[in-house]
């Protein structure tokens, strides 16, 4: 099964295991200590109340502006940061020839369009067969008027997951933090951390 550790593609544990971690002598994860930390391309800083695990960027698939964290592994929970995605770029690296594609970000996108882009991300790359928007409302983010999207999705591993994205478009670039976790237990367990991270997020000078 494929998990998008947000914006990053899915981690099919079975398919990846042969090339993952141990074989090459490095870990896929590194520790994020509690406290202030820079994320993504370094243009955003957040304060996390607890330690998390940062997904190591994979050299040829990673989007520089996207960073993924997890507490219990990407199948169960993940927090992702999008730091200044530019006009015309995608949340995830994809082949031009792929039949199904995650829509490109445009600077003039409204929150419903960003929400639709996120929905297609889960459907195209996350194996979601059902996706329900629970709410989309205004939400202050990085000191500007942004949005908060709440959603849940049923994936092809027959598990319901729940997500929340907070974000804003600033100077034509997308900044966003996304929590996505198994609906039972894991979403609620990670929510306080997410809320603290959201409230503390700021752009670095």
């Amino acid at each position: 099964m494929r998990r998008i550790t947000l914006l990053a593609a899915a981690l099919s544990l079975s398919a990846c295991s042969s090339l993952g971690g141990g074989d090459y002598g490095f870990s896929e994860y590194s520790l994020v200590r509690a406290g202030q930390v820079s994320v993504g391309d370094g243009s955003m800083a957040v304060i996390t109340p607890r330690p998390w695990n940062r997904h190591r960027p994979i050299f040829f698939e990673d989007i520089r502006q996207v960073e993924d964290w997890t507490q219990n592994g990407p199948l169960l929970d993940g927090m992702s940061f999008v730091t200044g995605l530019k006009n015309g770029k995608s949340l995830i690296r994809q082949r031009h020839s792929a039949s199904q594609q995650v829509p490109l970000f445009r600077s003039n996108m409204t929150p419903p369009e960003i929400a639709a882009m996120i929905e297609s991300l889960y459907r195209v790359r996350g194996g979601a067969v059902d996706f329900r928007t629970l709410s989309l409302e205004p939400h202050p983010f990085l000191g500007t008027s942004g949005f908060q999207l709440d959603y849940e999705h049923l994936d092809d591993d027959e598990l319901w997951r729940r997500g929340r994205a907070v974000g804003a478009v600033i100077d034509g670039r997308l900044y966003m933090i996304v929590l996505d976790a198994a609906k039972s237990h894991y979403f609620d367990a990670a929510l306080p951390d997410f809320e603290a991270v959201d409230a503390s997020a700021r752009l670095k000078a």
Partner: protein, 413 residues
């Protein structure tokens, strides 16, 4: 991020299994399988009512498959609306030949053009098939084809054939050996129901078996009074859609060697046309039961369209919508046409989407979402007054919409 999983980046193979019967079709051609048309009149069912296996290997296979069916039946990916599942059951009971009363049929919510028959006589139909079929005769045709595989005992035949070749003696051992990649190619990467994908990949039908299932299926379909010519139209639609999808992404449908060597699907279509002519009894009335089909599928059609369009496969989605619109446009189809452009998001697509939304809201059946997107489109053009009117209409139709808070802010700011 998982660039180490290249097989997950493109699922263009998924739709092919129905068309080509998997990659083995081409391989069978190379081994010299005769290409003469299998005549429907030569197709007799090899099983009777209440068939049960007697050979040891087939009994073992059935035992494994009972476990698989249990998995499938309990999956939360199934659509369980009794009206629609009852409809599918009645169709397989109509075109299922002697085993009509023995079949089980499950509907999975997977936006793909596919259906499959398992060795023990249960079928899984993907919801994407219901989106694409234009009438009951077409759906009955696909189901009759799948039933044909069972009636001709294709699974045990191919299983024995495969086992001879590979010298592996149990389903489990073979499944373990095949691994996940085969499953990905065969079923697409939507379905990871337990070992379903892997197990299915054991049943590779040869071109000859596909031809038999076509001939058996069209025979049973025509006998039930369905217009047999619809069967070849299905393939035409599938091929048309794959071409359109590939063209949009600047590639050829003929990819990966499955179709490269032979115009197999073309000849299959020709064969089915010949079958249809042969089977048509002069003076007998054949129906497509389009009205009954639309009345049954109607309530879930918005969901089926939504599932397809949001995959952002503009070529395929546009083809599907235009095919459905051949019998007339409506607000629902115009709205989803707009969604195709909006998600494609190339220069000029915003104007195309805008036109589709504007056309959609002129129909009485326009969904509430058409008004919202129409409003957003107007707002971006600076036509604030009209945008507010569209937002107000959206909120009036859907006061509890999940994005009502955001839309309300737009409508009043």
């Amino acid at each position: 991020m998982c660039g180490r999983c290249p097989n997950f980046t493109d699922n263009s193979l998924t739709r092919r299994s129905l068309l080509a019967g998997g990659a083995m079709g081409a391989a069978a051609l190379h081994t010299g399988v005769a290409e003469a048309r299998v005549r429907p009149e030569d197709m007799v069912p090899l099983v009777g009512p209440g068939f049960k296996p007697t050979d040891t290997d087939e009994k073992g296979l059935w035992k494994e498959m009972d476990r698989v069916e249990e998995e499938v039946a309990g999956s939360n990916l199934l659509i369980t609306d009794p009206k629609i599942t009852g409809y599918l059951k009645s169709l397989i009971a109509t075109v299922g030949g002697p085993a009509a009363q023995d079949f089980r049929i499950y509907l999975a919510r997977i936006p793909d053009f596919n259906a499959m028959m398992f060795p023990t006589g249960f079928a899984v139909v993907f919801s994407g098939l219901l989106l694409r079929m234009r009438n009951e005769a077409q759906l009955a045709g696909v189901i009759a084809h799948e039933a044909g595989h069972f009636l001709r005992r294709h699974m045990i035949r191919s299983w024995r054939d495969e086992r001879r070749k590979t010298d592996i003696f149990s389903v489990a051992a073979m499944a373990a050996g095949l691994g996940g990649a085969a499953a990905g190619a065969y079923l697409g990467d939507y379905v990871q129901l337990a070992e379903l994908g892997t197990i299915l990949s054991l049943f590779k039908y040869s071109r000859e078996m596909e031809a038999e299932a076509d001939a058996m299926g069209i025979k049973n379909m025509a006998a039930a009074g369905y217009a047999p010519m619809e069967m070849s139209d299905i393939w035409q639609q599938l091929i048309g859609e794959e071409d359109a999808s590939a063209r949009y992404r600047g590639k050829h449908r003929h990819k990966g060697g499955i179709f490269d060597t032979h115009p197999s699907e073309g000849s299959r279509m020709v064969d089915l046309k010949a079958d249809a002519i042969e089977l048509t009894v002069p003076g007998r009335k054949y129906e497509d039961y389009r009205e009954r089909y639309l009345a049954t599928i109607g309530p879930i059609r918005p969901m089926l369209l939504d599932d397809q369009v949001k995959l952002n496969d503009p070529g395929a989605s546009q083809y599907v919508i235009e095919t459905l619109a051949e019998e007339g446009w409506n607000g629902l189809l115009r709205f989803y046409e707009g969604e195709v452009w909006r998600l494609r998001n190339r220069p000029g697509d915003d104007i195309r989407a805008d036109q589709s939304y504007a056309a959609a809201v002129a129909y009485p059946d326009a969904p509430a979402e058409a008004w919202r997107w129409h409003g957003i489109s107007l707002m971006k053009q600076g036509r604030t007054g009209e945008a507010k009117g569209a937002f107000a209409r959206y909120l009036q139709m859907k006061p509890d919409a999940p994005d009502a808070a955001w839309v309300r802010q737009m409508a009043t700011s």
